[in-house]
């Protein structure tokens, strides 16, 4: 079976290994750079040019400033709250939606499916959505962050396909024992769908963790801001002033140097939770991806 590899195949394998290594470096290095920079001594970092292969010196000052910052604390607290509520709501709605659509003897199934699928190709658009949300009291309201996006039509279809693959005989055995559809959902469908549910928790959770746009148009009260909006001020708006209240005596160049380190530390603090979680669910990713079409 193990035939000697031809010359062409050896060349192919060598080049392929090289390409894959390149991909690893390209995907990993920006984050490593941020990690190294965040631990570096601010003054050494700002005068350094070129590729960073290890932290320059070792300084936790930037992290100290970040975790003591009120905005980061508020943002973290709000984001955790939004992620927990949104994920729970999204999971419940997506599961029950997928469940009813996966039942064979449900008269309005096709009408419902058409109504949901239509939202995949046409929508109200940014402005009408904003106006209508405002008119039902969603402005400056945390529900404008938690509820929208609770059912992704795509996730719903993926889940429905997965539920539909569960053998009918299991459902029938519950019905014979006098159970109803709720028993089928709770005792059969959910226990058999742990992998897809895990993936959905990840998708919805990460989606909410990283989302910022709705918050930026609906929220005015800064105490409700999610972490990403404070990140916008710090990373994009270049505003690290709130973290440097105690450095009034330091020079302008020192402040600039510290600001740079603070940015990198902020990125690490806000990104690490997600990067720690996803590899554990990696083997389930395929089950969360739509392979078949939305036919049927």
């Amino acid at each position: 079976m193990f035939k000697k590899m031809s010359k062409g195949d050896i060349i192919f394998t060598v080049i392929n290994t090289f390409v894959m290594t390149f991909m690893i470096v390209v995907c990993l290095y920006p984050i490593l750079y941020v990690l190294f920079a965040s631990f570096s001594d601010s003054n050494l970092l700002i005068s350094y040019r070129g590729i960073l292969l290890r932290p320059l010196g070792f300084n936790l000052g930037a992290y100290k400033k970040v975790i003591e910052n009120q905005n980061i604390i508020i943002g973290y607290r709000n984001t955790l709250f939004y992620v927990a509520l949104h994920t729970a709501l999204a999971l419940v709605l997506t599961i029950i939606g997928a469940f009813v659509l996966s039942r064979r003897k449900f008269m309005i199934k096709n009408i419902m499916m058409a109504m949901i699928a239509f939202t995949m190709i046409f929508g109200g658009g940014l402005i009408p959505t904003f106006i209508m949300m405002k008119s039902i009291g969603m402005y400056d309201n945390i529900f404008a962050i938690i509820i929208p996006g609770s059912i992704s039509a795509y996730n719903l279809i993926v889940m429905r396909t997965s539920f539909a693959a569960i053998p009918v005989s299991l459902e029938e055995s519950v019905k014979i024992d006098g159970g109803n559809d709720l028993h089928v959902l709770w005792n059969i469908v959910i226990p058999l769908s742990k992998a897809i549910i895990a993936v959905m928790i990840l998708f919805y959770g990460v989606g909410m963790w990283n989302s910022w746009f709705n918050a930026s148009i609906y929220l005015r009260n800064r105490n409700l801001y999610p972490l990403q909006l404070f990140l916008r001020e710090i990373l994009i708006g270049n505003s690290t002033d709130s973290m440097m209240t105690d450095s009034g005596s330091s020079s302008a160049s020192d402040r600039e140097a510290i600001a740079e380190s603070i940015k990198y530390a902020t990125i690490i603090v806000s990104t690490v939770p997600v990067l720690i979680i996803y590899p554990f669910l990696q083997k389930y990713f395929v089950s969360g991806i739509m392979i078949g079409a939305i036919k049927g």
Partner: protein, 315 residues
């Protein structure tokens, strides 16, 4: 149970019976339907502001209809100075994104599939999925930091004898930066669907090809690519449907007035006209509606073409 119903029963009679039989299913369907009605269909009702001169104080119904049979906002956009600019930018960014961003994960998945060491393959997967999980905010801040005058990319440019330049304030580099960072963020993640399709290809085909003396490249062309074709077509239909919808999130974080000539797309134009100072809601809604209609037509057309040409389609 109710599959053998007599034909003469009316729809509502059958529905009534179905509700009795499937009462729990209807109960469960209720919140789901409510969600879609409130958060998807209610905004569609809001589209009528595109045909009005919306004034927040009097509300949608109280606002007067726009001039020219309600089409004034559409006419204003189509004859306005920004029409061609935002249309061109949207199409060009989309075109480059499809040109580079679409084949990249396909090629990547095919190459990844050829890795013989299981452990190495897993490491490649884990690391290339990572950018997908990083927030747009952080990705944009990395882009800003790396393309800045003192950034890593300029360090490399200077090393090869070039001159330092703040790349994000130069209109000619915006598309490259936008598309490259997009490919970086999505190549690993988008390869998952192709890897899944690859794992479904019969291994015996490869074995018999090897016995016939076919090399790796030959096998990729004759076995792997045909096996992937249906998935590639479906993904292309989905991608074509979004050809006019470059998202505003990344654009509004990366662009600035210096680069509007290449970076301002339809969605960022809508955003800017509604949320930054000026509140031209009706005008923006009209622009958005034109955009959605073209998008919807695009996806229907691509689907129709694909069904005819390759017998693969979404519906």
């Amino acid at each position: 149970m109710q599959t053998q119903l007599p034909v003469h029963e009316s729809f509502f009679k059958r529905l009534g019976k179905d509700i009795v039989v499937n009462k729990y299913l209807y109960l469960l369907a209720l919140p789901v339907m409510a969600y879609f009605i409130i958060f998807h269909y209610l905004p569609m009702y809001g589209i009528i502001i595109a045909f009005k001169d919306y004034a927040p104080r009097v509300g949608i119904l109280g606002s007067p209809w726009a001039d020219n049979c309600g089409l004034a906002n559409f006419i204003k956009f189509c004859t306005g100075p920004y029409f061609w600019r935002v249309l061109k930018n949207t199409l060009l960014i989309s075109f480059y994104d499809i040109l580079f961003g679409f084949p990249a994960p396909v090629i990547f998945a095919i190459l990844m599939n050829e890795i013989q060491t299981k452990y190495f393959k897993k490491v490649v997967q884990t690391i290339t999925y990572m950018p997908h999980f990083i927030s747009i905010m952080v990705v944009c801040s990395l882009v800003i930091s790396f393309t800045g005058r003192d950034g890593l990319i300029n360090d490399i440019i200077e090393f090869f004898g070039g001159t330092r330049n703040n790349l994000l304030s130069a209109p000619e580099y915006f598309r490259t930066i936008f598309v490259t960072s997009g490919v970086w963020q999505s190549i690993g993640w988008n390869s998952i669907i192709y890897l899944a399709a690859l794992s479904a290809i019969d291994k015996e085909q490869y074995e018999s090809a090897t016995i016939d003396g076919a090399g790796k490249l030959r096998q990729i062309i004759s076995i792997t690519l045909p096996g992937l074709a249906p998935t590639i077509i479906i993904m292309l239909i989905l991608r074509m449907g979004t050809v006019l919808s470059i998202g505003y999130e990344k654009i509004i974080l990366l662009y600035n007035p210096n680069t509007y000539s290449t970076s301002d797309v339809i969605s960022s134009f809508i955003y800017r006209n509604s949320f930054t100072g000026q509140q031209q809601f009706s005008y923006s809604a009209a622009v958005g509606l034109l955009n959605s209609i073209v998008n919807t037509l695009f996806i229907i057309a691509t689907n129709a073409v694909s069904r005819r040409v390759s017998e693969t389609s979404l519906w």
